[in-house]
Symmetry: C2
Subunit: 307 residues, 2 copies
Amino acid sequence: MRASSEAFPRASEQEVRDFFRECRELTDARLDVLVPAETIEPSLVHKAMRWSLFAGGKRLRPALLLAAGRAFGAHDTALLGTACALEMIHTYSLIHDDLPAMDDDELRRGRPTCHIRFDEATAILAGDALQTLAFQTIAEDEALDASLRVALVRELARAAGTPRGMIAGQAYDLAAESRDVTGTELERIHHHKTGALLRAAVRAGAIIARASREELDAITVYGARLGLLFQITDDLLDVTATAEDLGKTPGKDERARKATYPALYGVEASRERARTVHGEALAALERLERPVPLLQAIADFILERRA
Amino acid sequence: MRASSEAFPRASEQEVRDFFRECRELTDARLDVLVPAETIEPSLVHKAMRWSLFAGGKRLRPALLLAAGRAFGAHDTALLGTACALEMIHTYSLIHDDLPAMDDDELRRGRPTCHIRFDEATAILAGDALQTLAFQTIAEDEALDASLRVALVRELARAAGTPRGMIAGQAYDLAAESRDVTGTELERIHHHKTGALLRAAVRAGAIIARASREELDAITVYGARLGLLFQITDDLLDVTATAEDLGKTPGKDERARKATYPALYGVEASRERARTVHGEALAALERLERPVPLLQAIADFILERRA
């Protein structure tokens, strides 16, 4: 008998919110242990790492890793180190992305960006050090055996680097600035820039839980659709939300002539595209043939998100 | 019976030169396979990575790793991947160090630096991607079992990051700019900024060769003294060498008010310090109780180097 999304009850929006809060608390507590204290030299670099790491992020990637890992039966103990490593990679990319030579952003989540709060040199080093610490964290994670640590370093490195990871996406994004891009180019940017780490998040959870090849394939598709969904709703929020909701200036993308879904297709067609992609994410989950109410509800949550 | 430096013949200067050339060829050939081709997208980032990686570097770190690994009986097959990973870490640090917000250098080894040849954003990404690729290279090195790969990711991450690695040294160096530093502070900068990776080079070779705890301790002291020796002679060359020898402008350190050994102690006392440190490096090797003619000759070579 084939499982379907109707066969299992979906988690409620409140349960998703509670889950995200729990993940944030678990992740923040572990990150606080993993990242050197501000009192430890070189303290300026550690202050800068912590400034950006504890800036009120949603911890979406750790949450996806924990949700996927739990769905396949792994314990939090085995998942949390890699969840923190992913968040370090994500945060390092934000710090470098905000630099004057890149996106030149002065505010993120309503606070000065790392190079504004400190200085450019410190921001470059803090980003570099967070990337290093991400791989160190996995290599030193005693909850995982050596072969899993190797598989996870490989997974995160491929998702973070070139030619198919996050840095490739940053390069495509930079190349697309101040010129018109096609829908295909836009999807290529997002598939790499934000998609790669979101896919790696659910894949890493499944890898730690020793999911089967078929399960890993299905969760990869789920992660890919979720990543695209996240980006479309992000673009829509930039057009429709208020500054208070976002913690940043809305409409910024349009002024920077950044390629976005609403700019390319209009708001209504973008909303329609979001619903289609959401359906594809749920269809991938059905292939798992086990109840994954939380993963389903997370897709719903991202479709409906208001910030 | 205790081995002494007199008990074994030392390699000649020509043998050291031949060894360095061999290492350069081996490393360059493997790096060419490991780093995505310039034709692969995002091609600008791959061009920038290769521009800096194949800029005529001496491959000192790979050579030290190979020399130490061979001394303890490892084969090149097992050593070369990690040697390349180390060179990627070193190169990423040079790219970021040359950025306008850091040392603001336009020339390195007689060629435009990465951000001059390309642009700042591309240089930031190329550095980031080289760091990622370093850890990926170790994680995917099929010549090593999983536990060795984990040990090496850990070793390189600790040597590259904070609080005790290369990035800490960069931070100390930045903090020391345009003010007078003491000899203790100067040693702290070098111990981290260049010393950490040089120590990691010989340690990684020994780790791959499964050297004993005592051997690892002795080779760590050798690496530490060699790193300091390298820095003192580097500072001396900046004062005494010609531009043609160096491929960069001599006297640059003094004009930038960079802390150096000659500036702190004078040329003669710095030369004396170099000889003392050289002796300490050789004394550490004697504890190994096995012939290490190449490691001895490398110390001699760095003491006498003219470029």
